[in-house]
């Protein structure tokens, strides 16, 4: 009877550092109806869905929710978790795929891209 609380990504640990590179990429918009409870629980006020987050997923989702461009998000991920750039890009992409499938993220007009970051 009880539904499972979805757990989000836990991929963001023990990565090698690489200097960030600024490029122009789209801003991913969250549903902008997210309510955070620390970095570990988020509630979507429109869908009524809620999720338990890893601290890293919480950090990324908060950053996206505040409108941070994707390239900056990759940079922040590199800085915060000491991972190399390729890994950071891949992890951000995977994370966003998860957000899209959970309908936490939407795109205002065009598909997002990390190409060229």
């Amino acid at each position: 009877m009880f539904e499972k609380i979805a757990k989000m990504l836990t991929r963001f640990i023990n990565r090698n550092d690489m200097m960030p590179t600024e490029t122009n990429v789209d801003v991913i918009k969250t549903t902008s109806n997210l309510r955070f409870y620390n970095d570990e629980f988020v509630f979507d006020t429109v869908s009524g869905m809620f999720y338990l987050l890893t601290p890293t997923a919480g950090f990324l989702l908060r950053s996206l929710d505040s409108g941070l461009p994707l390239n900056s998000l990759v940079n922040q991920l590199q800085k915060q978790y000491n991972v190399d750039k390729d890994r950071a890009i891949r992890d951000v992409e995977l994370f966003i795929n998860d957000l899209v499938s959970l309908k936490i993220t939407h795109f205002s007009d065009k598909q997002y891209s990390l190409a060229g970051v």
Partner: protein, 358 residues
């Protein structure tokens, strides 16, 4: 003292709204007497001891017997109780109540009910047509009127499909043999027609509110069903603020010019599009949840009965407020059951005039 008659007192696996409506009213009105109307001497609300306890309970004939039998029984009850208002809380009662409304009004008993036309248009049989007219997504529906139609439709149906009774009962079937068995089960219980409905899967949302009969909504409360019982009932819910759902609800109520309480049941498909599954012509069983957070819709209904010029403001239900149902054991004695089974009534709080005589 105002006396309100309320039905739907059972709070079992498939809970009825009456006890929640009583609790909501008692929260706002102190000088009130509740007359419970039951169809079964084992309805749990008859024996309750908390704030949803009726002051007296009376058994009624089943709604399917029709308005005449109900009227005869109400006259007997009215010899003992002076009823001011009636709030029917079961889908199957509304048609009888509409039939009896003129007679009740003559006796000074008020009801707030949808019109016959609204009731017809909201029904499961007509829901798809209604939704198509106002561009609201709804599952494809087929009405099966008799056993002859059943056999031929069972061959054509796209499975899985839901089979529903006209008021109650729903079963998801996946192949022809199940279809015929389930349809026969439901038709034996609730009569013909039965309704088949395209099976749609997704997250479930309920909206309750009050219509003013002019096409306006007095207030809404929308929840996502957070916990769902094996019978598909909300056992826990969380308030959502979804402008799309609100707009759909207002469009539907405007089209129906709905008067009184309602519950709209939506499901959101994986693409996120809300689809209307059902409209229930009454408060939902979870109506005491919004009441507890400042949106007391039964109290607002009561204020309409009382012609209150400046009704108590209703708070908006804000996203994140939630309820989880908590079942409890109501203690009684076989004497209590014997009382209502023998006499068709049980009085918890005698009327003051009876006490005076004593």
């Amino acid at each position: 003292m105002t006396v309100v008659a309320i039905s739907g007192l059972h709070r079992g696996e498939n809970p009825q709204p009456g006890a929640s409506v009583i609790a909501s009213l008692k929260r706002s009105f102190k000088d009130i007497r509740i007359v419970g109307l039951s169809y079964d001497s084992l309805e749990s609300g008859i024996y309750n001891h908390d704030e949803s306890r009726p002051d007296a309970s009376y058994l009624l004939p089943f709604p399917m017997i029709g308005p005449d039998a109900l009227w005869e029984r109400l006259k007997e009850i009215l010899d003992k109780e002076k009823i001011d208002f009636m709030i029917p809380c079961l889908d199957s009662e509304i048609s009888n109540m509409i039939s009896l409304e003129p007679k009740l009004n003559k006796l000074g008993i008020k009801c707030i009910l949808p019109t016959e036309k609204s009731l017809k248009n909201h029904s499961k049989q007509n829901l798809y047509k209604l939704c198509k007219k106002i561009d609201v997504s709804a599952p494809e529906t087929k009405v099966i009127n008799n056993a002859w139609e059943l056999e031929s439709y069972a061959n054509e149906a796209t499975y899985p499909v839901y089979i529903k009774g006209k008021f109650y009962g729903a079963e998801l079937v996946t192949w022809k043999q199940d279809f015929i068995r389930a349809a026969n089960d439901i038709s034996q219980l609730w009569g013909w027609p039965i309704i088949t409905q395209e099976a749609i899967f997704g997250d479930e949302y309920d909206i309750t509110g009050l219509g003013d009969g002019e096409g306006n909504v007095i207030q809404l409360c929308s929840i996502r069903k957070m916990l769902i019982t094996s019978k598909g009932k909300a056992f826990g819910g969380i308030v959502v603020e979804d402008p799309e759902l609100d707009e759909l609800a207002r469009r539907i109520i405007k089209e129906l010019r709905w008067n009184g309480p309602f519950e709209l049941e939506f499901i959101k498909k994986p693409n996120g599009k809300p689809t209307l599954l059902e409209i229930n012509p009454r408060f939902p069983a979870w109506i005491d949840f919004p009441s507890q957070i400042g949106c007391n819709l039964p109290a607002r209904l009561m204020e309409r009965f009382l012609d209150v010029e400046e009704p108590t403001p209703l708070r908006d239900c804000s996203a994140g407020q939630m309820f989880i149902r908590h079942s409890v054991d109501v203690v009684g004695d076989i004497k209590d059951l014997a009382d209502i089974a023998r006499n068709g009534e049980r009085v918890n709080s005698p009327l003051i005039k009876e006490l005076d005589i004593a």
